[in-house]
């Protein structure tokens, strides 16, 4: 295909603004899928994506489109909808020349509308603003068009008004894709260069790489090399998504498709890597490749009906399809065997947890998330830790830095007061307030990531009655007056319970945790002191009184069998508990402490 007749684009939108509906509509109107297949395809998408209205994994579909006597190849590259997947989104966008920015006519510009649009601008994409759901009674297309102009500097006259659901205005949009978006740039480099912008694992075929050819032509059977990973493979299949996988012999410049090359594990493939020819490699890879950075960590432990191996298998399966998720075995004396998992962000974490439970029928208990901290040691070294227990001795810490994000919240103006209050509690600093319309405001904060990873979003939704949206972007690490609270149960420090908090909150947090512990730990044969300490100094204390009476009064000949049964149960119950020194704590109780500590 003539490179000038190719258009590669993505659709970007805030959650629920109609991205998937528009994608489906485009497939239908270009005849890529028939009305009958349409339903099947809808069912194919993952439960979580459907329910949350977000697209977790990128995918690419080729559509044929006839316009003014010419045949065009339109490649729709799907992008993850949340900026947790910032890197994946940026790779997907790198494979495109244009982006359709969808904004709901009844909702207006939202936090993720902006975050996605900024990224598209960064990637030099031609943006076509589209106002969707214009046929709804509550639609305010003009107001929304003004918000777009105000927030993104895109002239409101450029907006398209459509209903993805009914198809209204989508014909014009299809024409605009061809006429307004540029074709892929000709690259004169004779070497083959193809960008891997996504991958997934197929149980039968191994890893399937989604690629965009930047220069040269990939042929079936060629030996290829991944420039970043340094590995080489033989292409066993080339193809395109129509949307089903269709084999072809070659993929030319500007085209989008897939490569199968007997790659066994997803970790062998890195998104953003460059494929070149093994025999005649390109000199330099495509730029922009980096390893995704995990900023949020949480421990997962097998729940009631799940065992450790079962959980590990499930994690392995998830990691196959999600290179930005990582897990490491973790053995805590308090909590037993589990895994420490790293995520790009909060949403990513929630998605993994839901997938675990749904796709694998696994019950997990998840600890409160923590973030990565940066430490300047007294030896002038910079190290990062993602767990309070990894912190070096206080005397070896010159400076403790926490991750700081730029937090954007878009909210109806009547929630400003409540949000300011929440922000203050969470050590957020207001940078600016900007009215994007008469009724809605964009607030920008500098916020410690640790303060927003847990529970912040829920509170924000509560304060704004569901209307506020937020997004954040890491902007760096900043020194803060952080301390590690150590929790001691019966004078034994419990690593898994230690936490890093701002000094101003330390005492309150410590006290709160101890109260929870006191409720969760059953009485023992002895009194159990509970303490919270910072660097050996006790900042809060509680105690669990010894139980007073536990003895069978009568045990004679007829009671032996029954009593033995009862005592066996009692012993088994003890065994299921975790030992901290001589204190036995039901795992469930432990989890409830961690799970709800805020």
């Amino acid at each position: 295909m003539d490179i000038n007749n190719i258009r590669n684009f993505c659709i970007i939108a805030h959650i629920d603004h109609g991205k998937s509906t528009l994608a489906d509509r485009l497939l239908l109107m270009t005849g890529t899928v028939s009305q009958r297949e349409f339903k099947d395809q809808m069912l194919d998408t993952m439960d979580i994506e459907r329910e949350r209205g977000i697209t977790v994994k990128a995918s690419a579909v080729m559509m044929n489109y006839h316009h003014e006597g010419k045949d065009y190849m339109l490649n729709l590259i799907d992008t993850p909808g949340h900026v947790d997947f910032h890197y994946e989104v940026s790779r997907s966008m790198t494979a495109c020349e244009g982006a359709i920015l969808v904004v709901d006519a009844t909702q207006g510009v939202e936090a993720q509308t902006l975050a996605n649009a900024y990224m598209a601008i960064d990637c030099n994409l031609e943006i076509i603003p589209v106002i969707n759901k214009v046929d709804l009674p509550a639609a305010q297309p003009q107001v929304v068009a003004e918000e777009i102009e105000h927030t993104l500097g895109i002239n409101k006259n450029q907006c398209f008004y459509i209903s993805a659901k009914s198809g209204k205005g989508v014909d014009e949009l299809l024409d605009a894709i061809v006429t307004l978006m540029p074709p892929p740039k000709q690259d004169d480099d004779p070497h083959i260069k193809a960008l891997i912008f996504d991958s997934h694992f197929d149980d039968y075929r191994g890893v399937i790489c989604y690629i965009r050819v930047m220069s040269g032509t990939l042929q079936h059977g060629q030996k290829i090399k991944m420039m970043g990973a340094g590995r080489s493979y033989q292409i066993s299949e080339l193809g395109k998504f129509t949307p089903s996988m269709k084999k072809i012999d070659s993929l030319g410049p500007g085209e989008v498709g897939y490569v199968i090359a007997n790659i066994r594990t997803l970790s062998d493939v890195t998104i953003g890597d460059t494929i070149t020819l093994f025999a005649d490699p390109a000199e330099t890879p495509l730029h922009g490749y980096k390893k995704p950075q995990q900023m949020v960590f949480s421990d997962f432990y097998p729940g009631n009906n799940t065992d450790y191996n079962h959980l590990r298998t499930a994690f392995e399966k998830l990691a196959l399809n999600d290179a930005s998720f990582s897990f490491f075995p973790q053995n805590s004396p308090a909590l037993g065997f589990g895994f420490r998992c790293g995520f790009l962000g909060m949403l990513h974490m929630e998605i993994i947890q839901e997938r675990l439970e749904r796709e694998n029928d696994i019950e997990v208990v998840q600890t409160a998330p923590t973030v990565t901290y940066e430490i300047l040691t007294t030896d002038n070294e910079t190290v990062r830790v993602d767990s309070p227990s990894q912190l070096p001795e206080p005397t070896k810490i010159e400076e403790l830095r926490e991750p700081i994000v730029k937090l954007e919240i878009i909210t109806p103006k009547d929630s400003i007061g409540g949000i300011m209050q929440l922000a203050e509690q969470r050590r957020c600093v207001l940078l600016k307030t900007d009215y994007i319309s008469i009724t809605r405001v964009m607030m920008e904060f500098r916020a410690p990531l640790a303060e927003i990873v847990y529970d912040f979003y829920d509170q924000l939704k509560g304060i704004s009655r569901g209307y506020a949206t937020m997004d954040y972007e890491l902007i760096g690490f900043e020194a803060a007056d952080l301390v590690r609270i150590e929790i001691l149960i019966n004078k034994e420090p419990v690593d898994a319970l230690s936490l890093i908090v701002h000094r101003s909150n330390a005492e309150a947090r410590g006290r709160k945790l101890l109260l929870k512990l006191r409720k969760a730990i059953p009485r023992h044969q002895f009194e159990i002191p509970l303490q919270a300490a910072i660097g050996g100094k006790i900042i809060a204390r509680e105690s669990i009184k010894a139980f007073r009476k536990d003895v069978t009064a009568k045990l004679y000949g007829g009671d032996v069998t029954r009593k033995m049964k009862v005592l066996k149960k009692q012993k088994e119950g003890k065994k299921r508990m975790k030992n901290i020194g001589s204190v036995q704590i039901p795992q469930k109780a432990f989890m409830s402490i961690l799970d709800t500590s805020d």
């Binding site: 044969q525 002895f526 010894a546 139980f547 007073r548 009476k549 536990d550 003895v551 069978t552 009064a553 009568k554 045990l555 004679y556 000949g557 007829g558 032996v560 069998t561 009593k563 033995m564 005592l567 066996k568 009692q570 012993k571 003890k574 001589s582």
Partner: protein, 402 residues
């Protein structure tokens, strides 16, 4: 020839009581509703068919209230029993103060009964009423005096503490009164809310305010202190005795020795097996006339259900039969033995069970020694003083090997 595996203790259950006390979890029925004679005949048949050492060391007649069937009937029955068991060294009959008089006690004495266990429960009328006991405090005094008159030296009484509404002062008075009576043995129990009793149901319904665990413990500790001060040796978690008056029959249980139980709901422990008779007087009687040989339990049988109850062809009164493995035996020996204040004689334990207790329960023993809940003294492993009120939390560690 003496067979060391033959049970030397016999318990005979008389499952009758004129009225059922609210807290009682034992199997007992009103004697008026049944053909008591028929049951007693069946029990004698069961005893005849059972294997035990003759004469037995201990014979214990319990209930219910044995005397509730009438003095004459009881005495006739006991004389038949004694013919079968021989003269026991310790021959106990349980007595409900409501059902006894001096005449009965004299008759019992002449039959060879040498120990009387009186279900006093309390010397406070209010508490007696709460428990549903149908006698007065005066009646208790009378019975104890009658027993002495009849020549009984070994008199035991049961006391219950932590009765709702009870305060420490009442309990102290109960203890003081008990000591004054001159009895030689005391069983002091914290009120237990047995499942399926009217008392437990009232409690579950939230209609009674139970005594706090604090007070319960305090009462228990008070008993140990006051009774100890009066020359009663605390020899088992709930039992106290003047020197030489420990209950030998009950020691059989705690030392994990063999015994047989006769009558509905009675339990037996014979080599490798623990069995329990059916808790139904009519069904029990039905099962008895046919051949029953305790010694003929097939020890290799895997299908326990075919051994159970009289529903099958093989008629016998047993409703539950549990094979006791060597490890299970060792666990039971540990749990029961630790109820004795003196504890477990380590040499005896190894001899009887074949196991070294320190191997079987290594972690549990180490842990509890460290917590000062167990102690090792002169070849005995025992609960410490602080472990007594919370004994189950320690004993459960021995319910099965680590």
């Amino acid at each position: 020839m003496v067979n060391k595996n033959l049970p030397k203790s016999v318990y005979i259950h008389i499952p009758f009581c004129k009225t059922k006390c609210a807290y009682c979890g034992f199997y007992s029925k009103s004697p008026q509703e049944f053909d008591v004679g028929k049951l007693l005949d069946a029990e004698i048949t069961e005893l005849k068919k059972s294997s035990f050492q003759k004469p037995v060391n201990t014979l214990y007649i319990g209930g219910g209230s044995p005397a509730s069937i009438g003095a004459q009937m009881l005495c006739d029955f006991l004389s038949e029993i004694v013919k079968l068991t021989g003269n026991a060294e310790e021959f106990t009959v349980e007595i409900n103060p409501a059902d006894a008089n001096e005449n009965l006690l004299t008759n019992l004495k002449s039959l060879g009964v040498n120990r009387i266990s009186i279900g006093v429960q309390s010397f406070a009328q209010k508490e007696l009423d709460f428990l549903g006991r149908r006698y007065s405090v005066e009646k208790i005094d009378q019975i104890i005096n009658s027993a002495k008159q009849a020549g009984f030296e070994n008199i035991s009484i049961d006391l219950i503490f932590a009765i709702p509404g009870s305060i420490l002062r009442t309990w102290r008075q109960n203890l003081k009164k008990t000591i004054e009576t001159g009895v030689t043995h005391i069983s002091a129990y914290s009120l237990t809310y047995e499942k399926n009793t009217p008392l437990e149901k009232t409690k579950s319904a939230g209609q009674i305010k139970t005594v706090s665990k604090e007070l319960d413990r305090k009462m228990y500790e008070t008993a140990i202190e006051i009774l100890g001060g009066a020359g009663f040796e605390h020899y088992e978690i709930s039992n106290f005795a003047k020197p030489g008056f420990q209950c030998r029959h009950n020691l059989t249980y705690w030392k994990n020795d063999f015994y047989i139980g006769i009558g509905p709901a009675a339990a037996s422990y014979i080599p490798d097996w623990r069995t329990e008779n059916i808790s139904d007087i009519d069904k029990y009687i039905e099962c008895i006339p046919l051949e029953t040989h305790r010694s003929s339990i097939p020890s290799n049988s895997k299908n326990l259900s075919s051994l159970t109850g009289c529903i099958e062809n093989d008629k016998n009164p047993i409703s539950e039969r549990i094979k006791i493995s060597p490890v299970e035996k060792a666990s039971q020996a540990a749990v029961l033995g630790l109820r004795l204040i003196k504890g477990i004689n380590l040499t005896d334990y190894k001899q009887k069970t074949g196991f070294d207790i320190f191997e079987l329960f290594k972690d549990s023993i180490e842990k509890n020694l460290k917590l000062n809940l167990l102690q090792l003294k002169n070849g005995y492993l025992s609960l410490t003083k602080i472990a007594l009120p919370i004994a189950d939390s320690v004993l459960c560690d021995f319910a099965q090997p680590d």
